[in-house]
Assembly symmetry: C2
Homo-oligomer: 393 residues x 2
């Protein structure tokens, strides 16, 4: 008699963002819902990228330019241009870049490379996928690194030795980010403990501050201990297209096995390649015109983030993030719980946020605002909040 993977029973019943959506749909629709919750893009995709996707798709209809299965590691031209524009002075080769269809997939699958008893450290609060994917895999050795307000929501270097450490910078949900100095401590820790850092850089393109690190490989020797993840979703608005990449340096070896070779073997067996036209859309992102489009897009969202953050602060909210990240991490009022405050805001102002508790216990008493919205909505949201707070707090 077949039995279930019993780890699945340990998962919360629904995925956080779907749960929030479900609750939000049950709300009075007479007043327009403003979604400052899920980190989904708000602008259409640049026509320039779409044109390139269509151009690439059209090549598939001709005998001379048809294609079959693509390289499971990703198209050479895309890996080449990522190397050139993102890792120019960091000595990362095309061989170390793996194209795929979403950081969610990459970051939830990467643990398959490591032994079942690996001691795993995950920040609390953090993106729920890190924890959930390890639960699904039946891993038991999972510890949470508390990220507290008094430490600016950055995890402290633990005394204990961990094998795998998930770090996200600029962070989702708190919006705070590592400086080079702070992240170097983690690289040193990993070198000392022979651990691997899984560095989620999905929000790298939102960094404005020069002290904030963009790639973990800016730190010497990080190539011996770190895997880096990046996404086209937020940077180029590709959430509906699915494109991402990760870096596994050749010098990252365990028990004399090259992790990049093993990952290639996993890709060949389990994942296959990424849709060819979408990869060519990714290529366009790094052209001169494409980079200008990205700059415009990021600037739009970061202006929103700034207005939203300042607006919230004016309403006496204590906020974090929003400077190198599209997320603003915001303390609830009157010490209300995350879910209570989320519900209160939703019911009284028709604004959707994300309860910080959904990202972990240390997210309690916080909510996350996302700046992926249009500026009119953000201004309207601030007005509604002002009115509501005046009357009720």
């Amino acid at each position: 008699m077949v039995k279930l993977n019993k780890s699945l029973k340990q998962l919360s019943s629904g995925y956080l963002f779907q749960e929030v959506e479900k609750i939000s749909l049950s709300i009075n629709k007479k007043i327009k819902l403003i979604n400052l919750g899920i980190g989904d893009i708000n602008k259409p995709i640049s026509k320039f990228f779409i044109t390139h996707i269509c151009k690439a798709a059209k090549t598939l209809q001709y005998e001379k330019t048809k294609r079959g299965y693509c390289n499971s590691q990703g198209e050479n031209n895309l890996r080449r241009i990522i190397k050139k524009y993102c890792y120019k002075n960091l000595n990362i080769s095309e061989d170390e870049i793996f194209i795929s269809s979403g950081t969610k997939r990459d970051i939830s699958s990467i643990q398959e490379l490591f032994s079942k008893d690996a001691k795993i450290a995950i920040c609390d609060p953090s993106y729920p996928v890190y924890l959930d994917s390890n639960i699904i895999a039946g891993r038991k050795n999972i510890s949470l690194l508390k990220c507290l307000e008094k430490n600016n929501f950055l995890p402290l270097i633990p005394k204990k030795s961990y094998d795998l450490i998930y770090l996200c910078s600029p962070n989702n949900p708190t919006g705070v980010a590592f400086t080079k100095k702070e992240l170097k401590k983690w690289v040193d820790y990993a070198l000392k403990n022979k651990s691997v850092i899984l560095f989620d850089g999905a929000y790298e393109s939102f960094i404005t501050d020069k002290n904030i690190i963009r790639s973990i490989y800016e730190i010497e020797k990080a190539k011996k201990v770190a895997i880096e993840f990046r996404s086209f979703s937020k940077m180029a608005g590709f959430t509906s297209l699915r494109l991402s990449y990760l870096i596994i340096p050749k010098s990252l070896k365990i028990e004399n096995y090259s992790l990049s070779n093993l990952w290639k073997r996993l890709l060949d067996t389990k994942f296959g390649s990424v849709s060819y036209p979408i990869q060519q859309g990714g290529l366009a992102v790094y052209s001169k015109e494409g980079r200008a489009e990205v700059k415009k897009l990021i600037s739009y969202y970061m202006t929103n983030a700034s207005i939203l953050r300042k607006g919230l602060e004016k309403l006496n909210f204590k906020t974090f993030g929003g400077k190198n990240s599209p997320y603003i991490w915001c303390k609830t009022l009157n010490n209300l719980s995350s879910w209570d405050f989320f519900n209160l805001i939703l019911k009284n102002t028709n604004i959707i946020t994300i309860p910080g508790r959904g990202f972990g216990k240390c997210g309690e008493n916080f909510i996350r605002f996302s700046a992926f919205a249009n500026i009119t909505d953000i201004k309207l949201a601030l007005k509604r909040l002002k009115k509501f707070l005046k009357n009720s707090f």
Copy 2:
């Protein structure tokens, strides 16, 4: 100190099709290589499908029709049309259909639903992904069901009870397929043993014989025990685009948990959605014009398969398959091993095949020919084989 997933060390060094490609690339290039190996499509993608993909992509560039993250289960319109055209009289609902980006991903991930000690039965020979994905997951309870020439390469109903049974029909690599009567025995077995059948129907559209079953759900009560996988790769030539789907019936429950609900939870957490324009390309496949394109494409490959099969038989090869499948399973001559015969053919005729041994021990002394090639190449290959066999055997 971090350690490797030790199961990875048990994998063969390279994925079968990549290994074959590597050897083939080392061959004398003066004579044109004819690839009758990997099951990759040979025709360009229909202009009709590409037009629809581009049309959908273009909607993403406008404010009014922009989209963000899609439903992780797949677009409603695509699931609706699959229901209508593929499961019309089989009472499968849209809720039971899950769109994804390749059967390889689906079939390698589906085991995550089940307990680690599940007793798994995999046909020998079979598509390497079934075995490899279970090895990677660290599963130990894996048995191989011998599929022998004397039984027309179909597995016999085992006396032992298995929890998960991988069945593929029309089969890759042998090209043979289950009749309804034969498959019903497996459904009865699964009902009796409370097992789940993972039914790989990636080659369903190549079925020409009316006695051969297209969907396992044509069998009464199969909805209580079977998950079915299908692909757009071969049917519509989408190997470079990545599109597939699977069916998890609502009535398939384990320990009172609905597997379809749990799969949705896994999709939300680990996989995300499939590229929107590609899904809309899939929608076009089921339009009237699209179905005509598919018919033309399948007919082309099946004509190839017939010519190839008859040609091989004329050269005194003993063949299987090729009637409801694009694959022809062919006994080596002089009892040569698969790899020896593969190398002999490759070196002397510059024709790439796949050694049957790569699909399992019971594939020894066979090679697989694929009809995914153009007819000129197939005719040329037969000529080269004729000349070579005349001189050497």
